[in-house]
């Protein structure tokens, strides 16, 4: 699965392409699934309950991408519909980026609770995050350059 910088860039790329004014909401959504899931990083330092680690996979599913953003919408004093849609967009981008790229990462539960199957394009190993990072950086810089040239014209 990609690193956080890649997730931020993926969110920014889509926000730029769709001309979203509050890009920060898409970026927030694109990191939101990991705020809970990264609990597994504690297992680097001390033993963790396996069932707890297992349940964190749930927070990388599209169904949670519809529920969790709705729970944080009241934190923003802004058009609630836009806030919800932008955060959901970022969340779904994260779930898709993880699920479609990860090899043996236990992500890609795209149809839960209707199916317990994982769906992944199996494109990259976890240690090939740099390919996604560089690709995203190149795409983002290209979009910014094209946009600034179009503005000058």
């Amino acid at each position: 699965m990609p690193d956080w910088l890649s997730h931020i860039l993926i969110g920014l790329i889509v926000a730029e392409l769709l001309n979203i004014d509050k890009k920060s909401l898409v970026v927030l959504g694109s990191l939101l699934p990991d705020f809970i899931t990264k609990i597994y990083l504690f297992s680097f330092f001390f033993p963790m309950n396996d069932s707890l680690l297992f349940v964190t996979r749930l927070y990388h599913t599209p169904i949670m991408g519809l529920i969790i953003p709705a729970l944080i919408v009241p934190l923003f004093k802004y058009d609630w519909k836009k806030t919800y849609v932008f955060i959901v967009l970022g969340f779904m981008l994260h779930v898709l980026a993880d699920g479609l790229t990860g090899k043996r990462d236990n992500v890609g539960l795209l149809l839960y609770p209707f199916s317990h199957s994982y769906f992944s394009l199996n494109m990259f190993w976890s240690d090939q995050y740099w390919i996604i990072l560089i690709s995203c950086a190149v795409i983002y810089v290209s979009i910014k350059l094209v946009k600034s040239r179009l503005r000058k014209k």
Binding site: D3, W4, L5, H7, I8, L12, K22, K23, S24, L25, V27, L28, L31, L41, S43, F46, P47, M48, D50, S51, L53, F54, V55, R57, L58, I63, M64, I67, I68, A70, L71, P74, L75, F76, K77, Y78, W80, R104, Y112, P113, H116, W125, S126, D127, Y129, L133
Partner: protein, 143 residues
């Protein structure tokens, strides 16, 4: 939106979140057991194709030890190389004595750098976020 409807919707969503969490927890049997589950009860999960991820502890000619959730796991696999700044992924056949025979190995070389990059990414995230928002009482308002 009417405040009462908003509050009821919020409570329903929290209930849904808790309900799905319990449902997912109880659906553990539909998924491949984790390395930690096997090591906790090797008899129950013997003769299965399982995946383990963790750092390598030590290597001998015919096997090596890796740490899975801070417990040592003996893996039969000849001539493993120490992964560089990362972990190793093992797909293997589990045995009743709590060991495994690897059929596939993948080196996550330099994988730890990913976590450093992710940590550094917190700063651009905070910059992007607080460029748009400022905190007023308990809510984020336009900056």
């Amino acid at each position: 939106m009417n405040k009462a409807i908003a509050i009821i919707t919020y409570i329903i969503l929290i209930f849904l979140l808790v309900l799905l969490s319990f449902d997912f927890y109880l659906s553990e049997k539909y998924y491949t057991p984790s390395g930690g589950m096997f090591m906790g009860d090797p008899e129950k999960y013997a003769d299965m194709k399982l995946t383990f991820v963790g750092p390598v502890i030590n290597i001998s000619d015919s096997s090596f030890y890796m740490s899975v959730n801070h417990k040592p796991l003996k893996v039969y696999y000849p001539k493993l190389e120490q992964p560089k700044l990362g972990q190793v992924l093992v797909v293997g056949q589990s045995h009743i004595n709590g060991t495994t025979t690897a059929s596939e190995i993948h080196y996550f070389n330099y994988n730890y750098l990913k976590y450093y990059i992710s940590f550094i990414a917190i700063f651009p995230f905070l910059y992007i976020f607080f460029r748009d928002w400022k905190i007023k009482r308990w809510r984020f308002v336009n900056a």
